[in-house]
């Protein structure tokens, strides 16, 4: 009997892409070589999967094999003197945080949700709100154990198999299965953060605030109103935060307190309701100025308190559009992108703007580069939405920017190749037995 079982349709986080897989859920590292070698069913391509938070098709392998990695969540070693932690690749970030906060440590880089695996974080070379200070997670990875379909098991480090190491960081799981990962955690003195919200009037003011904050605030991010037209376009709330110097070291309760029980109907999501949300959010935040103290999980993972929030966008699902544009063109490009979204009447609840610092990303396919990153959610309205994103692609390409594969389910092959000039070097490291919906699409 094959260890792989046919599943129902598996949906990615954006819920537009989905389909059945042949899935196996190994509980032991020693099972992986045999699973990779299994010829049934029909030598289908394989992809290791985690907690399914990628928005598009980079975490899907419809019709192929999926290795569900979340049961491989054992810790292997931790040295409190150096902060080095080695664990199996399926460890969730939420588990890691629950482990390390009481011990006075924190992951050096976290994405916007704690419901991701360590393997997923490395495969997407994730960034956080502290990118200007810490760079991407890949900079903190000291070793990766990689199982390949030829039966080899390699330990990759920045100096050992260095090419494959840099292909695997941000490599979207295409270079093999990461079985173990070692990262360097950072010390913290408190589970609290000092936080400040500052309203700003336009995109220029955002960049001024970002420049002014980066020296003394480790975490910065902005919510931006992408619905309002004209003078209000680009207004937003700039949030900056830093670890508190003292306070309790308790991770706080894990898990969601609320859940989105149903798919919201499509009519609930229109330009009026989004406009209203943006207006109310702006007014509420703009009133609350000054510094406050908050649990770091609340600052860094605001949406984790609502499980399955993606259902807010209805049964049709959503797209997230996240791009980065280089510093010289950043201001103009961001304004042009916001204008496109606003003109199309396709504003989103969650529009996020952040600057990336100059720290180089270590992966051949890493998304972050110096400049500004803008992320917008669009409910899936079919052709209309796709056409808008194509218009936005032209702005991004012109500016010399690129799109984030973890969020993408629709960029063209040309858009991918222009954004990731290292793609040929990367492709040479792809394990021939591995693929994903994303990879088949952009290589087509």
């Amino acid at each position: 009997m094959s260890a792989f079982q046919k599943t129902e349709a598996i949906r990615s986080w954006g819920r537009v892409q989905n389909g059945p897989h042949w899935a196996a859920a190994p509980h032991w590292r020693d099972e992986i070589p045999a699973l990779l070698g299994e010829q049934a069913p029909a030598r289908a391509a394989v992809l290791a999967t985690g907690l399914g938070r990628s928005y598009g098709d980079s975490g899907l392998n419809v019709g192929g094999r999926a290795l569900a990695m979340t049961r491989l969540n054992r810790l292997i070693a931790f040295d409190p003197a150096t902060g080095l932690l080695r664990s199996e690749a399926g460890l969730s970030l939420a588990d890691l945080i629950a482990f390390c906060v009481p011990r006075g440590f924190y992951p050096p880089v976290v994405p916007g949700t704690s419901y991701v695996t360590l393997g997923g974080m490395v495969a997407n070379d994730v960034h956080g709100k502290n990118h200007h200070a810490a760079g991407t997670i890949g900079r903190w990875v000291t070793a990766i154990d990689l199982a390949r379909s030829d039966g080899s098991q390699l330990r990759l480090t920045p100096t050992q198999h260095a090419d494959l190491f840099s292909a695997t960081i941000g490599g979207l799981g295409l270079t093999g299965v990461m079985t173990e990962i070692e990262i360097r955690l950072r010390p913290i003195q408190s589970a609290n953060m000092e936080v400040e919200d500052i309203p700003f009037a336009n995109v220029e003011a955002f960049f001024d605030l970002a420049r002014e904050s980066e020296g003394s605030w480790e975490y910065t991010v902005a919510w931006i109103d992408c619905v309002s037209a004209g003078r209000k376009l680009g207004r937003g709330i700039f949030t900056r935060a830093r670890h508190a110097a003292d306070g309790p070291l308790e991770a706080g309760p894990a898990g969601a307190r609320l859940s989105m029980p149903i798919d919201l109907p499509r009519w609930a999501f229109n330009s009026a309701s989004i406009g209203l949300f943006n207006e109310v959010y702006w007014r509420r935040k703009a009133q609350r100025r000054g510094t406050r103290r908050q649990k770091l999980t609340k600052i860094l993972f605001p949406l984790d308190s609502i499980s399955r929030w993606n259902r807010m966008y209805g049964s049709g699902g959503m797209y997230q559009y996240q791009c980065v544009v280089p510093p010289d063109s950043a201001s103009d490009a961001v304004r042009a992108l916001l204008a496109q979204a606003s003109a199309a009447g396709e504003g989103s609840f969650l529009a996020v703007l952040k600057t990336f610092g100059g720290v180089a990303s270590p992966g051949l396919l890493s998304f972050p580069m110096e400049g500004a990153t803008l992320a917008l959610d669009f409910p899936n309205r079919g052709e209309r939405t796709l056409a808008l994103m194509e218009r936005m692609d032209r702005v991004v390409a012109e500016a010399g920017g690129r799109l984030y594969p973890a969020k993408d389910g629709r960029m063209s092959s040309a858009m991918f190749k222009s954004g990731y000039p290292n793609w040929r070097r990367f492709a040479a490291h792809v394990d021939p037995a591995f693929s994903s919906g994303f990879w088949r699409r952009v290589m087509a």
Partner: protein, 253 residues
């Protein structure tokens, strides 16, 4: 972290089962000293490293096939001696779900299901009970199943073995009732573990090993001789046991 000498101890038999591992993580977080017994040395080591990092005062492993031991009592005493002779918790977790359809026609499969879930589990339970009685304290936790509460065509060989081990454990608990040590059988509902790989696990009745482990951890310090995990299975099984045979026979559950 508690020091090695004063830390409480647990002996976990069948330690590579997913539920045993989840309970062991709770023990480790309390800084306990643990001895893990199972067949596969490499897998025991993977768990031991994890438990050590998570805060266990010490973790030892012993690779033994629990099914093929002729002299269980002296082996149990030797394992207890590895914990310094002091055993606060014993968990008996080894088991084998098997294939009901195959067991119906193949003696070896039926024998394996009965031996793993009843004979072997029972002999280890008796050895552990003897040790705890001599020791005068300690908590004996035996993993049973809701499948033991009523025979169903889908898995009655496994169910019969689990019914047997539950009755045996209840007897031990009765024997312990005078004071000192205690015993509890945990009747576990369907759980998403490697044992149930290949089942369709959608639906509200499937539990995660972590949920079941939390119930087991509480039950180990509780006073009830029979505990359902999760607790709602107590009520479901009460209903299922009460269904008259003519109706039950028409149900495909």
């Amino acid at each position: 972290m508690t020091s090695n000498v004063t830390a409480r101890t647990a002996l976990i038999l069948g330690a590579t089962s997913a539920i045993a591992e989840a309970v062991a993580r709770l023990f480790a977080a309390e800084g306990m000293r643990l001895l893990l017994v199972g067949r596969n040395a490499g897998r025991l080591q993977a768990i031991a490293s994890d438990l050590t990092v998570r805060g266990a005062a010490a973790v030892e492993t012993e690779a033994q096939d629990l099914m093929t031991q002729a002299e269980i009592h002296p082996l149990f005493d030797r394992l207890a001696a590895k914990l310094g002779g002091r055993v606060d918790y014993v968990l008996i977790c080894h088991g084998y779900l098997g294939d009901q359809a195959l067991a119906a026609r193949d003696q070896a499969e039926a024998d394996r299901i009965l031996a793993a879930n009843f004979s072997s589990a029972a002999l280890w339970t008796l050895a552990a009970a003897g040790h705890l009685r001599r020791q005068g304290y300690g908590s004996l936790v035996v993993l049973g199943s809701v499948a033991g509460d009523r025979g169903r065509r889908a898995n009655f060989v496994y169910g019969a073995a689990k019914a047997g081990i539950a009755t045996l454990c209840e007897g031990v608990a009765h024997d312990f009732a005078a004071g000192g040590p205690k015993a509890v059988v945990i009747k576990i509902g369907p759980t998403d573990t490697p044992m149930t790989a290949g089942f369709d696990k959608r639906g509200p009745l499937w539990s995660k090993p972590e949920q079941v482990a939390a119930v087991i951890r509480r039950a180990a310090d509780g006073s009830r001789p029979v505990v359902y995990a999760p607790g709602f299975w107590r009520w479901i099984m009460m209903v299922i046991r009460a269904i008259p045979a003519p109706i039950f026979n028409k149900m495909s559950i």
